[in-house]
Amino acid sequence: MQMYPEQIVKTLIAEIFQSRRLVVGIFVVVNAAMLIVGLLFPKGFSASTSILIDDRNIVQPLMQGAAVPTEVTDRGRNAREVIFGRKIMDQILERGGWTVNRPTAEQQERIIEDIKKRAAITTVGRNIIKIEYKDDDAERAFRTTQKMAELFMQESIAAKAAESSAAFDFIDKQTQDYHDKLVRTEEQLRELRSANLDARAGSEAEVTARMNDLQRRIESTSQELREAEIRGMALERQVTGEVEVNAAATREGQYRTRIGELQSRLDTLRLSYHDTHPDIVQLKNQIQDLTDGIDAERGRREQTKRGGRLEADQSTLNNPIYQQLRRELSQNQLNVEALKARIADSQQRLQQELNRGKLLHTGDARLAELTRDYQVNRDIYQDLLRRRESARVSMNLDRDRQGFTFKIQEPATLPLYPSGLRFWHFVAGGILLGLLIPVGLLYARLQFDPRIRIGNAISSRHKVPIAAVVPHLWTPRELKGLRVELAMLMFAMVATVALSAAVTVLRMTRVI
């Protein structure tokens, strides 16, 4: 049912009046209950201290870049981890007097859990850690809080010093390692250089040039050799030809000349004589002999040719051209031999150069590798050296407590009044709840009860006119009863409030 605010208020007031006994009853019961709870609720004393963590002191700007301040991202969590650690907790147990009764390990664990529950460690702003501890004993709350702060500071400083010291040790070790590596590489380089003296800058180019030169020389010498050989062959042929010419020109020529002469004489005789003429016959025989002589010569020459060796006869040997040719041939022979020797020498040297070149390449690769290693190691080593110095400064800062200081911003004080829910809170809450609960319940009933409480709602919903809205008719007897009832209810409420007030006063004056 949709109701307007003023309708709700009006109906709610009507409902409160109708259910006045219930309202007052709930008020009294709630107040009484809260009074009892308030009396039974343990008093809690809370002590707190705040610690300022100053990591931006005077040294930092001076050491900018040289020292690395330890970064703490979540100081609150860090502090919780540190304080709730067993190491600090054991000391707190002792300081707080929990160990007087010699609790067992299990009991200690429980006490520690209790302490953890009652302690709150929060970060205020960026650099302030607030430690808050609640206890039912004011003195113990104070002592525990104080001890927590103190131990936390000690532990943090020690932890930080240890941390930077460990960092320094690590970097130092690394530096040492790299130093060793560097020395080793240098040694290797030195060995390589001494092993390959050739292996110096430009060696390779030199070898290549030399090889090229040798190559060129071999090629030109080969060319010369080939020429000399061709020349030798030509000379050989010429020498052989000269012998043949000589042989032909000498005997066969003489025979043919003689035959020619005889033939002409014969031809002349034949003009005058028959073939049977003795002169002619004689001539013919002479010619035949000469022809045989030519054939014999030819046969001999052929035989010589087949035998490969041309017999130089005396006439040939005496031939000046032949002699010159022979001389040139022998000269050429010598030349060929010399050239061959030169080529062999050049080839041998080329081979040497090649081997040398190979050696040079291997050495170069190794040298490059070692040089690279050396450079890398040197860079890292130099970097590490710088870092080690930074770490040393950081360590010194922490050792001298310069990098990260803790200051008690607000010291713990002995709590004089209990904290948390105080007795008067319960009393005030009781009065408030005593009023709100019944009103709330009635409001809920108003919202959820389907029964009609507003006359206008009927006419609008059922389209039936409201003939009359009859208010309650109070009879004199009812009024009298109401008067008495209201007086009693009023008395009950006033008495409840008065009782609560009285108990509060007694509680404040520490009577109860």
Binding site: I13, A14, E15, F17, Q18, D449, P450, R451, I452, R453, G455, I458, S459, R461, H462, V464, P465, I466, A467, A468, V469, V470, P471, H472, L473, W474, T475, P476, R477, L479, L482, R483, L486
Partner: protein
């Protein structure tokens, strides 16, 4: 002697302690002008005058207040104003004639009897009108509480006995121009009575006899739907009483649907909480 006077005298003879003394004036329909208290406004001054004679002992406003009945002296009371307005509304609707008004509740304890009684009282405020409240809620009657003697004959007695006179069941209650017919003896099957022709005759006769008389039927709740249907047929107007915080929309809807739109005068939203001024 009129029937009413006869009834009254018999009643007195039977019970002796009857609240209202029996008048001894003239015969029926004989005007008694000498003791007339009301101006001749309705056209039936003689009837009203006769009633006035029989009401020599009226209840004080305090007594009425104690019984939960409004009195015109407490004109400042919001309840009095409301009933007067309701009466005016009905009078306007009836256009000068009298009428039969059935008052029924959506459910038990709706306060329909309270509304019926006070509606009757509001009619009786007007010196030119009279009111007769008939208790038709036979299962849970309430009108007899207004009477000094609760055992007087009522509606069921009249309906059961063929020779019973109407005058025997109409009783004054100590309010001027106000009469009631109590339920009478309890009956097991009330629906039987309302269906009888005698019931219709009763309603017709009390209505037709005195034109200034408004008849209020204090009916059973709507849960007795059979009775309500019969009674609504006998009446001119129907008022449905819904008590604050007692009825749901469904109940109201069912009740409204059961009554013919022509007769349904409206809904009386009863017993709205009111914080009284206490000194």
């Amino acid at each position: 002697m009129s029937k009413i006077e006869k009834a009254l005298s018999r009643a007195r003879a039977e019970h002796g302690n009857f609240l209202v003394p029996v008048p001894n004036t003239g015969t029926a329909r004989t005007p008694v002008t000498g003791t007339a208290m009301v101006a001749d406004r309705t056209g039936h001054p003689e009837t009203i005058a006769r009633m006035a004679v029989s009401e020599s002992r009226l209840l004080s406003p305090g007594d009425l207040s104690q019984r939960g009945i409004i009195h015109h002296q407490y004109v400042g009371d919001p309840a009095v104003q409301v009933f007067r307005e309701l009466r005016t509304k009905i009078v306007q609707q009836s256009q000068g004639r009298n009428g039969v008004i059935l008052v029924t509740g959506v459910n038990h304890n709706s306060g329909s009897s309270f509304v019926a009684q006070n509606l009757g009282a509001a009619f009786a405020f007007d010196t030119g009108k009279t009111a007769l409240v008939i208790d038709c809620n036979l299962k849970n009657p309430s009108m007899h509480r207004l009477l000094a003697n609760a055992a007087v004959p009522g509606l069921t007695d009249y309906l059961e006995n063929p020779d019973f006179d109407i005058a025997h069941i109409i009783h004054p209650v100590g309010i001027a121009r106000y009469r009631v017919i109590p339920a009478g003896k309890r009956s097991e099957i009330p629906a039987e009575y309302f269906t009888s022709a005698k019931m219709r005759r009763l309603v017709d006769s009390v209505r037709l006899r005195y034109t200034e008389r408004f008849i209020v039927l204090d009916g059973p709740p709507m849960s007795d739907i059979a009775d309500i249907r019969i009674l609504s047929e006998l009446s001119d107007y129907v008022l449905i009483v819904v008590r604050y915080g007692r009825a749901t929309n469904t109940q109201i809807e069912n009740s409204v649907n059961a009554i013919s739109d022509k007769k349904l005068l409206g809904i009386v939203f009863n017993d709205e909480p009111r914080i009284p001024r206490i000194h």
